[in-house]
């Protein structure tokens, strides 16, 4: 059963140096507050997993939290490059960053295999692409019925998955809706699951397009209103598109980035 904890306690208990951590949310419901808490606690050497390592991972990577990134598209959506990600990959600043790079279809299926506790998933993918040459988690498998060769991708099973959701009840049952992305799969693929929520309610009311994670599939819930900002939580907030645009000049410059992180993350709480 999920325990309801403070964000600080939950991060300290669930996430450790060297862990493989997935923080998911496809543009929507991105767990920024939890990422900031990881940075404040100085947790490091993480393998970070995320289909779209956008601004949230730019911040983690720029602060030197990650030694490895597993991903499929690393940009600031609608704005441009992730400058901290590029600086780490191109120049090793503040530390080198290993990459395991996939397509979205491949990453989505890696989570599906992880959630299903299968060692791999099959897809029609990567054909003719150079991507398999750079990854040890892409292979092929032959259909035993038709002889067709298909792509196989290795399951992802994070030590911890962190997501943000709209609501939990006092038992720790979690409900999210809107663009639900790959969060269910990422959560079910992990050994431990931390969910930050906008609100803790007495009873979860059925809601269209909602995903419910029962309490017994969640490790800890932390009440963190606006914990997805500058991303958003449908029904609670809208995407702060201006912040994403403002991030471009902040993140271009190492010093400007560090100053911003000091002011808005390290010295905040």
């Amino acid at each position: 059963m999920a325990e309801i904890r403070s964000l600080r306690d939950a991060v300290a208990e669930l996430i450790h140096d060297g862990d493989t951590v997935a923080m998911e949310g496809f543009t929507h419901l991105i767990p920024f507050a939890a990422a900031h808490e990881i940075i404040r606690q100085g947790i490091t050497d993480l393998t970070l997993v995320r289909m779209t390592p956008d601004v949230i991972y730019d911040q983690l990577i720029g602060m030197g939290v990650a030694r490895r990134l597993v991903f499929s598209w690393g940009g600031n959506p609608g704005v441009g490059s992730l400058h901290r990600f590029r600086d780490a990959v191109e120049n090793g600043w503040p530390r080198p960053l290993e990459l395991d790079e996939h397509s979205h279809a491949g990453m989505a299926n890696r989570y599906v295999a992880g959630a299903s506790r299968l060692p791999f998933a099959v897809l029609r993918g990567y054909r003719g692409s150079d991507l398999p040459e750079r990854s040890s988690t892409i292979a092929t498998v032959t259909c035993p019925f038709t002889g067709e060769e298909l792509a196989a991708v290795a399951a992802v099973n994070p030590d911890v998955t962190v997501i943000h959701a709209q609501r939990a009840d006092r038992e720790g049952n979690v409900q999210l809706w809107g663009l639900v992305g790959v969060q269910k799969e990422a959560a079910l693929a992990a050994d431990r699951v931390l969910v930050t929520v906008e609100e803790i309610v007495e009873k979860l009311e059925p809601t269209p397009d909602a995903v419910v994670l029962p309490s017994w599939a969640v490790t800890a819930v932390a009440h963190v209103p606006d914990g997805a900002h500058p991303s958003y939580a449908a029904g609670y907030s809208v995407r702060d598109n201006e912040f994403y645009q403002a991030w471009d000049p902040i993140s271009r410059d190492r010093e400007a980035f560090l100053a911003w992180m000091r002011e808005h993350v390290l010295e905040a709480s």
């Binding site: 496809f26 543009t27 929507h28 289909m51 779209t52 991903f71 499929s72 598209w73 690393g74 940009g75 600031n76 959506p77 609608g78 704005v79 441009g80 490059s81 992730l82 990600f85 590029r86 990959v89 191109e90 120049n91 790079e101 996939h102 397509s103 979205h104 279809a105 989505a108 299926n109 989570y111 599906v112 897809l123 029609r124 993918g125 990567y126 054909r127 003719g128 692409s129 150079d130 991507l131 067709e148 060769e149 809107g178 663009l179 639900v180 992305g181 790959v182 269910k184 799969e185 397009d209 958003y232 449908a234 809208v238 995407r239 598109n241 994403y244």
Partner: protein
């Protein structure tokens, strides 16, 4: 999808509209023509950035029933303004259905149900293969990092056909890709079949200078249309390989006032139909 190409805004097209006092920009020419290219398609898997602008414009003009599908999991989004990201809330709020990301890729894209995939690109070669992964910056410099594949490899593989839209420059249209992220026509005719790719692949590359289409025999991109005010030599010059030019190069229709009004309203956040 990749909207973070390295092309400068305006790009090579900024010196295009020098023939007459025209009231459109090269980017508008590109987007209007990209929207027109969607005619006859019912369902479109939309990359963010230039493809999203074009697909939304099509829905506001000639293709009101166009079904927009975003990799964030929305089927039939009807946004009233241009989304900044593929995950803006309005895409979900206005959709016929919202599904998970694995489902959108497995049940909808991979299954070959979608008429047209609309992609941007950082680098394209003569066979409409795409690089959005890394740029070779020479022997003494580390690779330049691009955003990565996103949905492109499987969009290009699985949609019945593919449209591409990007700004025309020698940096974007290259002799040889530094990395093949996404296969267009591979190394020529028969390659898609050999690789087992379902759809027919790229059928048009729409730029701010004109339109390239694969030669039916060789699968090599050929300049088939230029935009009003653009010269053929200008396009050849902006292409990093020896560009083949069709025997009869057409000129695209200028944007209509309705198209321009709809595009500008979309970009400014208003709804011209409201």
């Amino acid at each position: 999808m990749n909207d973070t190409t390295n092309a400068a805004p305006g790009g090579a097209g900024s010196d295009v509209a020098n023939g007459a006092a025209r009231d459109w920009t090269p980017d508008e020419l590109m987007t209007v023509n990209a929207a027109r290219a969607l005619q006859g398609s019912r369902t479109c898997f939309v990359g963010i950035g230039l493809p999203s602008a074009a697909a939304n414009l099509a829905r506001r003009t000639s293709q009101p029933d166009l079904v927009l599908i975003y990799e964030s999991g929305t089927l039939g989004s009807k946004p009233t303004r241009l989304p900044l990201s593929i995950g803006d809330g309005e895409l979900a709020d206005t959709a016929d259905a919202v599904v998970s990301v694995p489902e959108i890729f497995n049940y909808w894209l991979q299954a070959g149900r979608i008429d047209v995939g609309f992609l941007g690109a950082a680098q394209v070669d003569r066979y409409a293969n795409i690089n959005t992964t890394v740029i070779d910056r020479g022997p003494d410099r580390p690779e330049g990092r691009l955003p990565g594949a996103g949905g492109a490899p499987e969009i290009a593989a699985s949609c019945r056909k593919v449209l591409m839209v990007l700004r025309h420059s020698r940096r974007n249209f290259v002799e040889k890709l530094d990395f093949v992220t996404t296969v267009g026509h591979g190394s020529g005719p028969g390659d898609r079949a050999r690789l087992g790719l379902l759809g027919q692949g790229p059928v048009a590359v729409i730029t701010d200078l004109g339109v390239l289409r694969p030669d039916p025999e060789t699968a090599e991109l050929v300049l088939t249309e230029i935009h009003p005010g653009v010269a053929v030599d200008q396009v050849v010059e902006a292409t990093g390989w020896k560009l083949r030019v069709a025997d009869a190069v057409g000129v695209t229709e200028p944007p209509t006032q309705a198209e321009l009004a709809a595009l500008r309203a979309l970009k400014s956040g208003g709804d011209p139909r409201a």
